[in-house]
Amino acid sequence: MKKPKFGVVVFPGSNCDHDTYYVLKKILDLDVIFLWHKQATIEDCDVIILPGGFSYGDYLRTGAIARFSPIMNEVISFANNGGFVFGICNGFQILLEAGLLPGVMIRNESLNFVCKDVYLNIENRDTVFTKGINGKSSLKIPIAHGEGNYFADENTLKELEENNQIVFKYSESDGLITDNANPNGSIMNIAGIVNKPGNVLGMMPHPERSSDSVLGKTDGRLIFKALVNNIFN
């Protein structure tokens, strides 16, 4: 089976770039390279990962300045031509600012930086990022963010629902969506969405932090694996 080549973009202030690289390279034995944000090409990568962190110190708005890094022009046209782009945490925020995904991220309702394991219900099991993840009522993956409170207007939410673009919602361990399971105030418990064609995913939880068994949880690995299995099929 042909395996995709991954490119992890490194912005000034990215801090999950090495974790993501490690998981792809050492745990999943994949071809992966770092892409410095100032370079103008994404080389021959099949999947671009925008990793977590605090690009440009989160100044102005999270992701707002990284969105104009030189590499982003290439990432945007890659995405618009069907290329696979996966934004994790700050990467999700950058995708929102770049207009590759709809909506905005605001400060957590509690104003606290929340760093803990959460459970995600898979709302759409038919994306390249989730297809084939079976036998799980929810995924246990950690979050670590201060601005993960997803917001979109009514029309956008309607569209997201109609097109099945909501991929992950914060849930109880049995997959039940409750207010109690919502860690940041996100509208409709939204934790991750895809664009309409389904080739761009943004999620606030960190799958790379739950991929190595020494960390006591490996559900995040399932997402990377699904992507690898589905991408050329």
Binding site: I106, L111, N149
Partner: protein, 90 residues
């Protein structure tokens, strides 16, 4: 040269968790009449051109593309002629 003063305001329909939290402080202070605290952004910068129209265009561009997120924020600005202090001293 011009000085631009930009005010970026989050739309009323969008929750402002910071404003809400700060208002709790007001309550603790005993300021019971304070309502609807909103924390917005004020940004100042210079625009190095003599032409007011091109200065306005550039400020609009800056606001629309970077300073404000049009999905959740509106902006307004003023432009006034401005001379750098070192030139004034000459």
């Amino acid at each position: 040269m011009f000085k631009a003063k930009v005010l970026i305001k989050r739309r009323k329909t969008i929750l402002d968790p910071q404003g809400k939290a700060v208002e709790i402080g007001a309550k603790h202070l005993g300021l019971t009449n304070i309502k609807n605290t909103r924390i917005d952004k004020y940004i100042e910068f210079n625009v190095d051109t003599k032409n007011r129209k091109s200065a306005e265009d550039e400020v609009n561009d800056y606001c629309k593309k970077l300073l404000a997120n049009p999905i959740m924020e509106d902006y307004e600005f003023t432009l006034s002629e401005w001379t750098p202090p070192e030139e004034e001293a000459k």
